[in-house]
């Protein structure tokens, strides 16, 4: 078989599918391999050359936004009525009759739909979705209740945290969370301006840590992003009641319909303002194996005006910077591998089989697999396996952080297992021309973008 053309080799560089015979030829031909390596290097050069288009971006952005209010003008409104009449007049008689007939049929269909009670919740959801999409900001109060048993035979105790949450379009978030129990003293502020570095402030210890810009998004449920996209109807209607003097309509929705990855959540109970069709209260339970958690989001205020300082990440005066030193990719991989190894041991030979890793779900899964779910606190915290899980918690937190914050990270636990020595389990971008990879058998290394594409079969 003769050697591949430049175009055929380029297909491989671009990750396009090529005939198995051609792939086999490349594997056995030194000349084609050399040309392929040259093309991959060339593609990397093209990638590098395009970085120039990022020059001065932040300054240009600020300049653009500063000029917007002075140039925005309403375009001349299209006079819809006249346009429709003109168009209708252009049709022949047969076409006009056909169109009129169709219109009547559509109108009748709409009447049937609107009069059908089950269609009312669809309308309410649609109105809510439309109004949520337009919302520029909101603030609300969050109440998080954790229930646990301290010692065997004791009645369950509760620990409550309350918080003020603020959201500003397109995705800046601030959470001020405080434990109600003075013995705890927990009092934190988490600030994540959209697309910018964030800060976490611990008011109890008077320290703060800085974090990278979150490339991912806040929880689709908690930040109502899921509701903005929800196109279905409610599973149950709860009727009407009054909250804070407002008439509200209640609905129950399977949380997995709002967010398919919300494995640990019970149904969402939602109350929306009958006039504005915006949420007033939202409640749901999280079935964490560690402790069940009840979440209530109340006292919503929509399109509230916020002080500009609300999302200012300047730390309070006198607070100490406790931001940890950045670790090398190899150090990060080592702690991640320890967590993944323990998970595989507890699960009987696989990693967490999910598409998206949520928060500390890997750790929570391990607690459940260790048979500690629902155990009294005194038994759980002194259990040897629980201690092992806590020992690797830095690794689970690192996995969560990388997948949340890195600009190009991926996790393949759904399809990759401990025996897959040449398959990528987890990877993240470490530089312009490098990625760090953990394979199924937990060995790790740095690779080029070209090599990564070949490994991932792109």
């Amino acid at each position: 078989m003769k050697c591949l053309s430049h175009e055929q080799l380029t297909q491989r560089v671009l990750g396009m599918e090529i005939d198995a015979r051609l792939n086999a030829h490349i594997d056995g031909c030194a000349d084609c391999q050399a040309r392929l390596a040259h093309l991959e290097s060339f593609a990397d050069q093209l990638s590098a050359a395009h970085e120039q288009y990022d020059r001065g971006h932040n300054v240009a952005r600020a300049r653009l936004l500063a000029s917007l209010p002075t140039v925005k003008e309403k375009s001349r409104p299209v006079r819809t009525g006249q346009t429709i009449l003109f168009w209708f007049g252009e049709l022949n008689m047969k076409q006009r009759f056909a169109l009129s007939g169709m219109s009547v049929a559509v109108l009748l269909g709409l009447c049937v739909l609107l009069l059908n009670p089950s269609s009312q919740s669809v309308s309410a959801m649609e109105l809510m979705r439309a109004n949520l999409a337009k919302a520029k900001s909101y603030k609300m109060k969050m109440i998080q209740e954790v229930s646990f048993v301290r010692k065997p035979g004791e009645a369950p105790s509760k620990s409550t945290m309350t918080g003020a949450w603020y959201w500003k379009a397109p995705g800046s978030v601030r959470m001020d969370m405080k434990a109600t129990d003075p013995k705890s003293g927990m009092n934190n502020t988490n600030l994540h301006p959209f697309g910018k570095p964030g800060i976490q402030i611990d008011h109890k210890t008077k320290t703060f840590t800085r974090s990278a810009a979150r490339r991912g998004h806040m929880s689709p449920i908690m930040m109502l992003e899921g509701l903005k996209k929800y196109t279905g109807k409610a599973d149950k209607e709860l009727g009407a009641k009054t909250i804070n003097g407002k008439k509200v309509l209640g609905y129950v929705i399977d949380t997995k319909k709002i967010d398919p990855n919300a494995e640990r959540f019970g149904p969402t109970e939602l109350w929306i303002d009958a006039e504005t069709h915006l949420p007033v209260e939202l409640k749901l339970k999280m079935n964490s194996p560690v402790t069940p958690v009840t979440l209530s989001f109340v006292d919503f205020k929509w399109d509230a005006k916020f002080d500009a300082k609300l999302f200012d990440i300047t730390p309070p005066k006198g607070y100490v910077d406790a931001t940890p030193e950045p670790r090398s990719p190899a150090e990060m991989a080592k702690s991640m591998a320890a967590a993944l190894k323990l998970y595989a041991e507890l699960s009987g030979g696989h990693y967490q089989r999910v598409k998206i890793v949520y928060g500390e779900s890997i750790r929570d899964d391990m607690v459940e697999m260790a048979g500690l779910k629902g155990q009294p606190l005194s038994k759980m915290v002194t259990n040897e396996t629980y201690e092992k899980i806590m020992d690797v918690s830095r690794g689970t937190a690192t996995i969560s952080m990388v997948l949340r914050d890195n600009e190009d990270a991926a996790y393949y636990g759904l399809t990759v297992g401990p025996k897959d020595k040449d398959k990528v389990l987890l990877r993240w971008k470490t530089g312009d021309n490098s990625y760090y990879v953990i394979y199924g058998n937990l060995r790790d290394e740095s690779v080029t973008p070209g090599r990564l594409r070949a490994l991932e079969g792109r």
Binding site: M16, L46, Y53, K74, Q144, K183, S184
Partner: protein, 215 residues
């Protein structure tokens, strides 16, 4: 507080933190272009800033084909986005913002090219040569000779091939997103792109050997 009670309290605090961390979930969902357009139309300019973040590089690459220098590229980019902002309520399919603003950028570039060729006060000479040199000017700061050669060779490709290369690399090699920007099907896009890259690779190879190229 008694030591054991402190230990339990620490564990309970840890559960609270774990619960809160579950709320700060990773999601691969970012606001869609359609959402950002709706928010912009509702008066949220920061959302338009996000659209600028997503497409400014592509617009710069489009207008950069006729630019004289980087400040002109920036001006043309600003002009493209300002036009998009003014006409945003005319965009029917909000999810197509990317291809729409690229279309506006191409129009801005064409108008600029016409102005350049008509301007009697500015020596233009052979317009193709001048545009090539201006691309070098744009890329020369901090760039190696190899990259200069690369960018110069890019100009020998057709407009569609150049845009395919820009879209692919500026969308971080995401062929689906790049195809959407250029309003091509995925297979159609790949067809243009592979030819463009293969051609370019050969040109650069021949150029670097000093063999000259038939353009």
């Amino acid at each position: 507080m008694h030591a054991k009670a402190k230990f339990y309290q620490k564990s309970v605090d840890r559960f609270q933190v774990a619960a809160t961390s579950m709320l700060i979930m990773n999601s691969e969902e970012k606001p869609t272009d359609a959402q950002l357009v709706v928010q912009t139309l509702a008066g949220e300019h920061e959302s338009f800033g996000c659209l600028f973040d997503r497409y400014a590089k592509m617009v710069r690459a489009v207008v950069g084909r006729v630019s004289l220098d980087w400040s002109t590229v920036e001006d043309l980019t600003q002009e493209s986005f300002l036009r998009a902002f003014r006409k945003l309520d005319q965009l029917r399919e909000h999810e197509r913002f990317g291809s729409w603003v690229v279309g506006i950028a191409r129009q801005v570039a064409r108008e600029r090219k016409r102005t350049l060729s008509r301007d009697r006060h500015q020596f233009v000479g052979d317009s193709t040569e001048t545009i090539s040199d201006s691309s070098l000017e744009m890329s020369e700061v901090g760039e190696t000779d190899d990259l200069k050669l690369l960018m110069k060779s890019l100009e020998t490709l057709s407009e569609q091939e150049q845009l395919a290369i820009h879209a692919f690399f500026l969308q971080e090699r995401n062929a689906n997103q790049a195809a959407e920007i250029l309003k091509l099907s995925r297979s159609g896009f790949y067809s243009v792109l592979k030819k463009a890259i293969a051609k370019l690779a050969l040109l650069v190879q021949l150029d670097s050997r000093g063999e000259g190229v038939k353009r």
